[in-house]
């Protein structure tokens, strides 16, 4: 699996993501600047990391969603390419229309930075094959706008069609609808989630709970 990491101004977790990809994939991801208009040839996976793209002074991710590179990402997705968006990356995917719903300010109106437990809703996707069925794993959160919302028909459809990827297991601190922490696109080739599995891939940093996501992708 050949991975590329998008870099928008204000993205700040690209280094964490590079480390996680390097460890599981065994090679360096390509870094793709937001002003590019095409993705590198034969790229399998586009990763949009966390941060504050364009300062998030407008709605989180709204500016990045209009960047030149996103047209190429939409085309990649339409071809059935894989996309992973974490935190600001998830917000950019919803703002781009590649995933349904939106991420609002956290219910308590404060930035939340702590570990959370996530429940793996299905382990038969390209992102989760290295998790056991029903696995619960730990991941750091670090966001001000992680409160997932969508209209009830959309939420029903996400649940009915098995498109919920992860749910908050210990506590729903940001107020997300139906405890949703991450969702898939209809073809389950696009994943967006708020917490940061890429920050828990090394025992020294407190554990390797997030590593199965990258191992799953590497094996795909």
């Amino acid at each position: 699996m050949k991975a590329g990491i998008l870099l928008f101004p204000g993205i700040n977790r690209e280094r964490d993501m590079i480390l996680a990809v390097r460890q599981s994939f065994g090679h360096e991801p390509q870094i793709i600047w937001h002003k590019e208009t095409a993705l590198p040839a034969s790229l399998d996976l586009v990763i949009i990391p966390g941060g504050f793209s364009f300062g998030d002074y407008l709605r989180c991710g709204a500016m990045a969603a209009q960047s030149p590179i996103m047209a190429a990402v939409r085309a990649h997705a339409a071809r059935g390419g894989y996309v992973l968006g974490v935190c600001n990356g998830f917000q950019i995917l919803t703002e781009s229309g590649l995933l349904p719903g939106a991420l609002l300010r956290n219910a308590g109106l404060r930035f939340l930075s702590m570990d959370t437990l996530l429940r793996v809703e299905r382990n038969d996707t390209v992102f989760t094959s290295h998790f056991a069925a029903g696995a619960v794993f730990r991941a750091p959160m670090a966001h001000g706008d992680g409160n997932y919302t969508a209209d009830s028909a959309t939420l029903d459809r996400l649940e009915g069609e098995g498109l919920v990827a992860f749910r908050y297991h210990d506590a729903n601190r940001n107020g997300s609808a139906r405890d949703i922490a991450g969702i898939y696109s209809d073809n389950r080739r696009i994943l967006g989630l708020m917490p940061h599995p890429e920050d828990l891939v090394d025992p020294l940093m407190g554990g390797t709970d997030g590593k199965p996501i990258f191992d799953s992708l590497a094996a795909a």
Partner: protein, 732 residues
């Protein structure tokens, strides 16, 4: 010649105007002498900010010279934008702590946010990628509504800025005391990493080289911020709100990336951030340090507002701006890198051989000042000092409160309770290198990317000790920082100091300052712990009442193998051993204040030889792999330290040692609690080294703390007491 509209609007420059700019009659006399004429408004502005307490250190410099600043591992000590030390593998740690006290009271969110932004720039301007932020915060009485507003704004501001720039906020300290009512302290520290052969300095060179402005546009914000920070507050301080700057962490993030990218080339001759006194201090310092002259053409400065005067542009403290001197043949390549990051780039002048700063605007020379006297003739005061009287000995103390009740009261009080509510709002994991997060160890541990090595970092000061005995308090602040680094297994290397005091024109305040420096210097010498950077914040007074003297210490150490870094979390089936002698010192302790309602007596004495011996012993045991958990004994004493270890490890303990309240809650220094599997061997090794060690208990998986006498407190009860203060305060 008919004066322009702008000319006519300018106030008359005279002694009275100089006074309103913060220059006294004698200082204004010196200005006239240097200039040989009445200065222009812009010139007066430049003199007033360069000679402000904030920029000139005129009251503190004579004392700061007493601090030791050298060691074989010190690469650059005080005098640069930040201190630089050798951390091995060809790498350098670059760090500094700086105050943003005055702005943070007037406008807590922006004051704290721009404090973080400013200290970040001091570090990356030297070529370092920032890898950690820390802070040291002091607030007033929690019972006052204004305190809650200030705490909320400051915490949101620190998080808002640090989270966005993507530098993890990994450590800090918070105290409350009524002496900080109306004068909170916000001290922010940044630590960065650079290759030792890629360190950038600010001394300008190369006659004719372009002077380049990079970053945000200049606006009318923060004019005279440095002067504001050099006076006391009064009832009208809210009127100073327009002197507070507004931060833009997104632009700062771009500035970090753009500067670090440019630093990979050979384009930069010199670089300096525009901090306090903005364009004035950066241009004056760069040219002054290089022994050259500088000519600026302000028409070319990127401006956010129209019609700005030379005076306004030179004095603006708009944030997120840098000044560079470039090699002329690299200027266009540099422009391409800066503009790639969507930042303004403008050549606004050049380096000259005149030894003068010349500022032109709209074809008029607005300032023409010789640089040497501007710095050399800057005022320097050895202000009168009065020694702080030694505190009366502590009388009899009522220690009848039951041990368990006293513990529950202490770990719930604002100065000892969990800081989770605060650090849960700071991104502590971004970067993927945070080995020990807040509250997991006595110092934060952040690994160096691509290395096994990690830095240990802490901030410390105990102002209630300093007010009773500033010399002992100064020494204690250094010793506690050294101890906190040691307790993780890291080797303490160097210190940045942030001296927060009241009005230096009062002899008793200057006496506190001098004594604190003296105590710090002694401790730094004894512990081989030089001061490599720092900041002085004076005039921390409101309505004539000063703060507690607060020499906040930021410290950095290194551990060769991050996997050996020790935390405080207790592990089951270990013995608890206390290292260091206990006399049961209750003077100025939190027990005395929170349980007995007294702030009295002398602070605990600091025995620097014992600090050194005990610390070196503990560090060696940790690095030998003999220790399962380690925590220094500080605020609240031994029983509080054990309770914190139990909570962090979700592991209970049964305490065997017998002692009174003074034993369990005394704040004697140079002590550590170690959890080990073999207490006998540890105690024997300690005794062989002449170090006091005693078995105090045994850790169990039973989730309760069993006190001597058999009374048990469940960890749930302890946790509830420890975790409640902040959430309850902000729920109310």
């Amino acid at each position: 010649m008919t004066p322009s509209v702008a000319e006519r609007a300018k106030p008359m420059v005279n002694a009275e105007l100089a006074k309103s700019f913060g220059l006294n009659a004698e200082e204004y006399g010196k200005v006239l002498e240097i200039m040989g004429r009445t200065p222009s408004l812009t010139e007066l502005g430049i003199f007033s900010v360069m000679w402000s307490e904030h920029c000139s250190y005129k009251s503190s410099r004579v004392w700061l010279r007493e601090l030791p600043t050298k060691a074989p591992w010190v690469i650059h000590g005080p005098g640069e934008n930040a201190g630089v030390i050798d951390i091995g593998e060809g790498l350098a740690a670059i760090f500094k702590m700086e105050s943003h006290n005055h702005p943070s009271f007037i406008e807590p969110y922006q004051g704290a946010a721009t404090g973080v932004g400013g200290i970040l720039r001091d570090v990356f301007t030297m070529g370092a990628r920032p890898i950690a932020n820390l802070n040291a915060l002091r607030f007033g009485d929690p019972a006052l509504p204004v305190t809650k507003r200030v705490v909320d704004g400051v915490v949101r501001g620190i998080g808002g800025y640090g989270n966005c720039v993507g530098v993890p906020t990994v450590g800090g300290e918070v105290n409350f005391h009524p002496a900080y009512n109306g004068n909170p302290l916000v001290n922010a520290m940044t630590v960065g990493i650079a290759a030792q052969d890629k360190i950038f300095l600010s001394a300008a060179a190369g006659i004719g080289n372009p002077v380049v402005y990079v970053g945000s546009k200049t606006g009318r914000d923060g004019i005279h911020g440095a002067t504001m920070a050099s006076t006391e507050f009064d009832a009208n301080s809210a009127e100073k709100r327009p002197t507070v700057q507004v931060g833009d962490p997104f632009t700062e993030k771009l500035l970090i990336e753009a500067c670090l990218e440019l630093m990979q080339t050979d384009a930069i001759v010199a670089i300096q951030d525009m901090g306090a006194a903005g364009l004035t201090s950066s241009s004056v310092e760069m040219a002054g340090k290089g022994g050259v002259g500088i000519e600026l053409v302000l028409d070319d400065v990127p401006q956010r507002e129209t019609g700005m005067s030379a005076y306004e542009m030179m004095l603006s403290e708009s944030q997120e701006r840098m000044l560079l001197v470039l090699k002329p043949e690299r200027a266009e390549m540099a422009r391409a890198i800066i503009e790639k990051w969507d930042l303004d780039y403008a050549i606004i002048g050049h380096i000259t051989d005149t030894g003068r700063i010349i500022v032109k605007h709209r074809g008029v020379v607005e300032a023409d000042i010789p640089l040497a006297p501007l710095s050399d003739a800057a005022p320097l005061y050895r202000r009168p000092t009065v020694a702080t009287p030694k505190p009366a000995p502590l009388g009899r103390v009522d220690t009848s409160a039951p041990l368990g009740e006293a513990l529950l009261t202490l770990i719930a009080c604002p100065d000892l309770c969990s800081r989770r509510w605060i650090f849960d709002q700071y991104d502590s994991t971004v970067g993927g290198q945070t080995v020990k997060r807040p509250a997991q160890a006595d110092a934060a541990i952040v690994r160096l990317e691509g290395s096994k090595r990690a830095l240990a970092m802490t901030t410390d000061c105990t102002p209630r000790y300093c007010v009773a005995d500033p010399e002992a308090g100064g020494a204690q602040a250094i010793a506690e920082a050294w101890r906190n680094i040691t307790a993780t297994g890291a080797r303490p290397l160097a210190v940045t100091d942030n001296m927060n005091f009241g009005n230096p024109e009062k002899p008793e305040i200057m006496g506190q300052f001098a004594a604190a420096i003296s105590g710090m210097a002694a401790a730094c010498k004894a512990l081989d712990f030089p001061v490599v950077s720092g900041n002085v914040s004076l005039y921390n007074e409101t309505e004539g009442r000063g703060i507690l003297p607060t020499p906040a210490i930021g410290a950095v150490g290194v551990i060769e193998d991050a996997a050996l870094a020790m935390g405080i979390a207790l592990k089951p089936d270990t013995d608890l051993v206390l290292i260091g002698a206990t006399a049961g010192h209750l003077g100025r302790s939190l027990y005395l204040r929170e349980i007995c309602g007294q702030e009295a007596g002398a602070p605990p004495p600091v025995d620097l030889a014992a600090e050194r011996a005990n610390g070196d012993f503990v560090r060696a045991r940790i690095l030998a792999g003999e220790v399962a958990a380690c925590h220094d004994v500080s605020d609240g004493g031994l029983l509080v330290a054990i309770a914190e270890m139990a909570l962090a490890g979700e592991t209970g303990a049964t305490l065997a040692a017998q002692g009174d309240a003074a034993f369990w809650f005394g704040e004697d220094q140079a002590r550590y609690v170690l959890a080990v599997s073999d207490a006998t061997a540890l105690i024997a090794a300690a005794n062989a080294a002449g170090i006091h060690a005693e078995l105090i208990g045994h850790a169990r998986a039973d989730k309760k703390l069993t006190l001597p006498g058999g009374i048990a407190i469940s960890l749930t009860q302890l946790a509830t007491a420890h975790e409640s203060f902040f959430p309850n305060w902000f729920a109310a």
